[in-house]
């Protein structure tokens, strides 16, 4: 095994990085992949909560880097999915406890043990983001169809390009088809036109996300949820599968258009 390192980032906070990381990790696991998640948001850890693994934490990322435990001791195995592990962030330290080369070393050690390493990046463009980007093979930028989130996504993409990392792909999260239809929300083609990077997923706004997050039971496990299906589709696209764009609330026109945009374009 030689894991691919997938960094989930956004620049702006609150757009759904952690939700995306958790759901993609589970999506990939359910597709038979071996996945290790790393939460690099030192001091504000969340991924353990979303994955419902908080009560199992003994050692964390900083403990590994500072040599207080072995790597495997900090890897929490998910009881629902034996191929899913989490290395949680430290809660009581800050991002200076970790350096980009620590992350590169750590991921190199992990690569033989998994198919995917999913890194949840903290918000911002400082040290924490650099840590999450350093070992990355592929970057997924999460954005909401909203101007400030888009601006930050653009900045992040610029920084990823400047670091010569990538490829960078885009996930548009929390899109509301009804609002798009009324012209009150940027549409997916609008977003893609501005950011001009390939799209790998569109996740509709869905109450089920919040409900499932609160239960530590990611939405991708809920087969009835459109958001869950969208995350699963992203997982399949990451595996190289061609998955048609799902229609949201009968809003076929838009997504047909998108499909054409991406089949014909990039």
């Amino acid at each position: 095994m030689n894991a691919k390192v997938l960094t989930i980032t956004s620049g702006k906070g609150g757009v759904g990085k952690t939700t995306t990381a958790a759901n993609l990790a589970i999506a990939l696991t359910s597709l038979g992949q071996k996945v290790v998640c790393i939460d690099t948001d030192i001091g504000l850890r969340n991924l353990d909560v979303v994955l419902g693994l908080e009560n199992r934490i003994v050692y964390d990322l900083v403990d590994v880097v500072e040599g207080r435990c072995r790597l495997t001791q900090a890897m929490i195995r998910d009881r629902r999915f034996e191929n899913l592990h989490l290395i949680p962030a430290a809660q009581t330290r800050d991002k200076t406890a970790l350096a980009p080369d620590d992350m590169v070393r750590l991921c190199n050690e992990l690569r033989p043990m998994a198919d995917w390493i999913v890194i949840d990046s903290p918000a911002g463009i400082e040290r924490g983001f650099r840590n999450a980007l350093a070992p990355s093979d592929e970057v997924l930028v999460v954005t909401n169809p909203e101007v400030s989130s888009l601006r930050d996504a653009d900045r992040i993409i610029g920084l990823v390009e400047a670091e010569e990392k990538g490829p960078v792909k885009l996930i548009i999260n929390r899109i509301n088809p009804a609002m798009v239809k009324r012209g009150d929300m940027l549409s997916a083609p609008d977003v893609v036109e501005l950011l001009s990077i390939p799209l790998i997923g569109i996740v509709p706004e869905d109450e089920a996300v919040l409900v499932s997050t609160n239960h530590g039971h990611p939405v991708v496990l809920n087969e009835k949820s459109k958001a869950g299906t969208a995350f699963l589709n992203i997982g399949r696209r990451l595996m190289g599968e061609e998955v048609p764009w799902m229609s949201l609330n009968g809003n076929d026109g838009l997504f047909k258009r998108l499909g054409q945009l991406f089949n014909g374009g990039s």
Binding site: D152, D154, G158, L194
Partner: protein, 220 residues
């Protein structure tokens, strides 16, 4: 002693060196660089030295023994010139033929151009290009990106960021883009923003007219 290649062969100038020293120096050089002189035709510039037929013959024979032909002797002395001519040596270098001057002025079709920087990428939020001269971007300029140029700015793409042309006061600077919708556009000390009701994207050129920045569609 000065050695240079000319049309006739190798020209060696001794300036005002006394002949016997000059000759010694020449022979020394020749034996030093046998390969270089071998088979060559020599033209000697001897300055004021007075060389008779005998001296030249002797020299010619010495040179021949090294495989060198004495082709000419240039000197101010008439004795030297006569002696050389008798031996069939040239005493003057052929002057390059000067073509009659054309009365046509050359057409001024070579333009030096002005200093510019070419940016072949999309400028994303946080990127900044500052240049003393013109800036050409082949790509988009996204909101949050910034261009500052002392000259003009041309964007082959969408211009949505902030742009300042003529940053050192050049009022003749222009800004043009395929879609001119900057967050803020400055030319020299004038500032403009994109109107809210900005129409369908089209190529436009912004410049200062009557003290204001105006943007006009590019006419085919």
């Amino acid at each position: 002693m000065d050695i240079k290649g000319i049309k006739e062969g190798i020209l060696i100038s001794f300036d005002d060196l006394e002949w016997r020293y000059a000759k010694a120096l020449l022979l020394e050089k020749i034996s030093e660089k046998q390969d270089f002189f071998q088979g060559g035709k020599l033209v000697l510039s001897v300055g004021n030295a007075v060389l008779g037929t005998k001296a030249l013959k002797e020299l010619s024979e010495t040179l021949s023994s090294h495989g060198i032909t004495l082709h000419g002797v240039l000197g101010q002395s008439s004795v030297t010139q006569n002696a050389a001519q008798k031996m069939g040596l040239i005493t003057k270098l052929e002057k390059p033929v000067i073509k009659p001057e054309m009365n046509l002025k050359p057409l001024d079709t070579v333009i030096e151009g002005e200093s510019a920087v070419f940016v072949r990428k999309t400028l994303r939020s946080g990127y900044k290009v500052v240049y003393h001269g013109h800036v050409v971007v082949f790509g988009d300029v996204n909101p949050g990106a910034e261009i500052v140029a002392t000259g003009s700015v041309i964007v082959w793409g969408r211009l949505r960021g902030t742009v300042h042309a003529g940053a050192e006061g050049d009022q003749s600077a222009v800004v043009c883009a395929l879609d001119l919708s900057p967050t803020q556009l400055r030319i020299a000390s004038k500032i403009a923003t994109t109107p809210e009701d900005h129409a369908v994207p089209q190529p436009e050129i912004a410049s200062i007219a009557d003290g204001h920045i105006i943007a006009v569609p590019w006419q085919h």
